[in-house]
């Protein structure tokens, strides 16, 4: 790691900067520790496992999404329902036992305040979800699965995110 990189990663955020980073976002990094960048490869390994599950679970399939919204198959409801149940029990265990991360840091949870984005934004995403047959995770998995044209969908999603950021202040929240 070069010296400039080290300084950049050790930039201490102001409260305002932290709030901006957390804005309209659930999946955030709450850790206060500073590690070399290559420590992040452990998340690549988790991602690899996850990518395998995505494909084997067939939830990256456009067909499965159509089934779900046509109510012709229980499959997707089974996958998501089980995932939520397992996730909820896990979170409960982590909270009750006050588990710490492997670096000894407390695991923290933040409550997210409701805003109108969870209605309007969610409807817009739901509409796109059924058209593309994929939420963001499966989009990346479709690409890895060899459906190279999905790169266009991903670039469009990045463009959509950018446009949202640009006009965020003018949208009802």
């Amino acid at each position: 790691m070069t010296e400039t990189e080290l300084i950049e990663t050790e930039h201490i955020e102001t409260k305002e900067e932290i709030e901006l980073r957390h804005l309209d976002t659930l999946c955030t990094n709450e850790s206060q520790l500073v590690h070399p960048w290559w420590y992040n490869f452990k998340y690549t390994i988790v991602g690899i496992i996850f990518g395998i599950v995505f494909v084997k679970a067939e939830i990256i399939s456009w067909f499965r999404i159509q089934e779900m919204f046509q109510l012709t198959s229980f499959f997707m409801y089974g996958v998501i329902g089980t995932a939520v149940a397992v996730g909820a029990v896990s979170v409960l265990i982590v909270k009750k036992l006050k588990l710490k991360s492997i670096y000894g840091e407390d695991i923290t949870f933040e409550d997210k305040k409701f805003n109108k984005g969870q209605i309007f934004g969610a409807m817009i995403f739901g509409t796109g979800w059924a058209i593309t047959g994929a939420c963001p995770g499966p989009l990346f998995a479709q690409l890895g699965s060899g459906y190279s044209v999905i790169i266009i969908t991903i670039l469009s999603a990045i463009a959509g995110t950018w446009v949202y950021g640009k006009f965020r202040d003018r949208l009802p929240h």
Binding site: R21, Y43, V46, T153
Partner: protein, 190 residues
């Protein structure tokens, strides 16, 4: 063992493994499971423009891009090494019937190859299914403050009311799209 892996997995097995990603990320580094933010981090790191929404410490969230990179690699591994081509997806007959009426007849792979291919890119179908669809996913997830991973799995697992509302409206949008919008698209774009 390997042969077992190559078969299609039961939904309960897949669901359990997806659910376990939540505590795994928490224990590895107090990270909250979610994926749509990766689009925002790409905006912030590559073309923030002069938009305040993208001027945050994206380096703090770079783990999410490493995670997403892993998903691409994992999907590749699963498709090349862990999938039995003779054992392809089995679609509900009712859905197959409806899709047949749209002209989708090839059910041999996870995606309808008649729709998702490069030759459709510059047609109206391509515009709708790749460009507009993707745009709605990117715009909608950020406006909603998360996607199926962040709200419907992490958020619901953490009993967040906002995430429950978001999930209900994800579903509402999906039902509208599949049952009203997509039939119209195929009716007028054939």
């Amino acid at each position: 063992m390997f042969e077992l892996l190559k078969q299609p997995w039961h939904w309960a097995v897949s669901g359990t493994l997806i659910g376990l990603i939540v505590p795994l990320l928490l224990i590895l580094g107090n990270k909250k499971f979610g994926i749509s933010s990766s689009f925002r981090h790409i905006c912030a790191s590559c073309f923030p423009g002069n938009v305040k929404f993208f001027k945050y410490e994206w380096k703090k969230e770079i783990w999410n891009l490493f995670f997403v990179g892993g998903i691409i690699i994992g999907a590749f591994i699963a498709t090349v090494f862990l999938t039995d081509p003779a054992n392809s997806i089995r679609i509900a007959p009712d859905t197959a019937g409806i899709l047949n009426s749209y002209g989708i007849t090839d059910f041999s792979s996870l995606m309808p190859v008649q729709l998702f291919n490069w030759s459709n890119l510059f047609s109206i179908k391509g515009l709708v299914f790749f460009v507009i669809g993707g745009f709605l996913v990117g715009f909608g997830t950020r406006y909603a403050g998360g996607c199926t991973s962040g709200h419907s799995i992490m958020g619901l697992a953490n009993l967040q009311k906002a995430s429950l509302i978001a999930t209900l409206f994800f579903m509402a949008g999906g039902f509208f799209s599949t049952n009203i919008l997509i039939p119209l698209i195929f009716k007028y774009l054939q």
